[in-house]
Symmetry: C2
């Protein structure tokens, strides 16, 4: 039996909230839409970003921060297509604004049109953290089963869009787009649902149009605020 006194001299959570708000406000000012991508391991976030970059990089300034416990694997896959900075968390299960900010500074790329933040593959913990994003996008693969929204409610509740990936495998897996969509809308009725195969390119044009529209909304909101 031991006794420990842990003095907490700062309101750490409030500091993180403020840092995330400031990061988002500065990106808004610069016209950069910050898109936070969250999913299970292997749902296809990196492949989706590769396909997205192929379509958007001619017309927009893009960059990505990519989180993993270890290795530079995802950044290495992305670098041929867009500037990519790997954040290795050294074991931590999610990104936080305190990791995002210095990685973004090292990128030295602002102003951008789109900044993607690919979180650690984890359908639980990243949902509790504001990484300074405008948009949280969940990627769910058809191979994961159509029962995920109810079982991982916070991830779905805090997202604006759900990208159902790997639709090229629909004929081979027990997955119903209708069931998955209804389950997700029970948790978050305003969720935009898109269907893609990042591997074959199906649905990628529509996903990119969604991103462009969201950025237009950000710019319009900014103009309105400036009056």
């Amino acid at each position: 039996m031991t006794t420990q006194i842990i003095p907490v001299n700062r309101d750490v959570l409030a500091e993180k909230r403020v840092a995330a708000e400031c990061f988002r406000a500065e990106r808004t000012r610069q016209g950069t839409l910050v898109v936070h991508l969250m999913s299970s391991p292997g749902a296809g976030k990196t492949t989706l970003l590769q396909a997205t970059a192929r379509l958007l990089r001619e017309r927009y300034r893009l960059a990505v921060l990519v989180g993993d416990l270890a290795t530079e694997r995802d950044a290495e896959r992305l670098r041929p297509l867009l500037p990519a900075m790997q954040i290795t968390t050294g074991g931590a299960c999610h990104l936080e604004i305190g990791l995002v900010e210095p990685a973004f500074a090292r990128l030295d790329m602002s102003p951008l049109d789109f900044l993607f933040i690919e979180d650690v593959g984890n359908l639980v913990c990243p949902a509790s953290h504001d990484v300074g994003h405008h948009l949280r996008v969940l990627v769910q693969a058809t191979t994961e089963g159509d029962d995920k929204a109810g079982k991982y409610p916070k991830a779905f509740r805090t997202a604006q869009a759900l990208v159902i990936n790997k639709i090229d495998l629909l004929a081979h897996v027990p997955f119903s787009i209708e069931v998955a969509t209804a389950d997700a809308h029970r948790i978050q009725p305003d969720l935009t649902v898109l269907h893609v195969s990042a591997l074959t390119g199906a649905g990628i044009a529509e996903w990119c149009r969604y991103l462009e529209n969201e950025r237009q909304r950000l710019l319009a909101g900014r103009e309105k605020e400036r009056g």
Copy 2:
């Protein structure tokens, strides 16, 4: 700026370690092999347990504790085949011995031959917790890509076996069993690697033989200790 004093009157981590050791020792005494299943969401833990129960339930006393943030979905799928107790964590990203023990007591099923503990779908956080198991088994689906071991090293380092699931989809996905196995063995050279399709039943007999052998080793070790 606020100041908080949090008095910690107990060494909580040491208490959890002791509780997990005691739970494991008691199961060993009763001849129950405790198998902890860990994977990404949707890798197929529940389907694997369904297939396992179909093969083993005639000859052995089985039960399962199954963890999720919310819903009784997995327990409902398992109950037609074996006694199943759902542990809903209410948002927490992993199981702990403090959740396992009361759920096991509610099962009221000892002595068992096999107790399965299906953790929350999460390839990160459950790896840091001893739930009183003898064996940690990772389930990795071919649909998740063959680059996971390096990116989620603690899960692989703390496991004794890797079950590569969804081998029925090998023809349709970019996944090399050789690459995935080599990556896993770089992290944990003693890892036993098995290939199954929980959906079609391929490889399930071999997986069940592995479980039976591990239980025989537990019983033999127990006899040796008794002298």
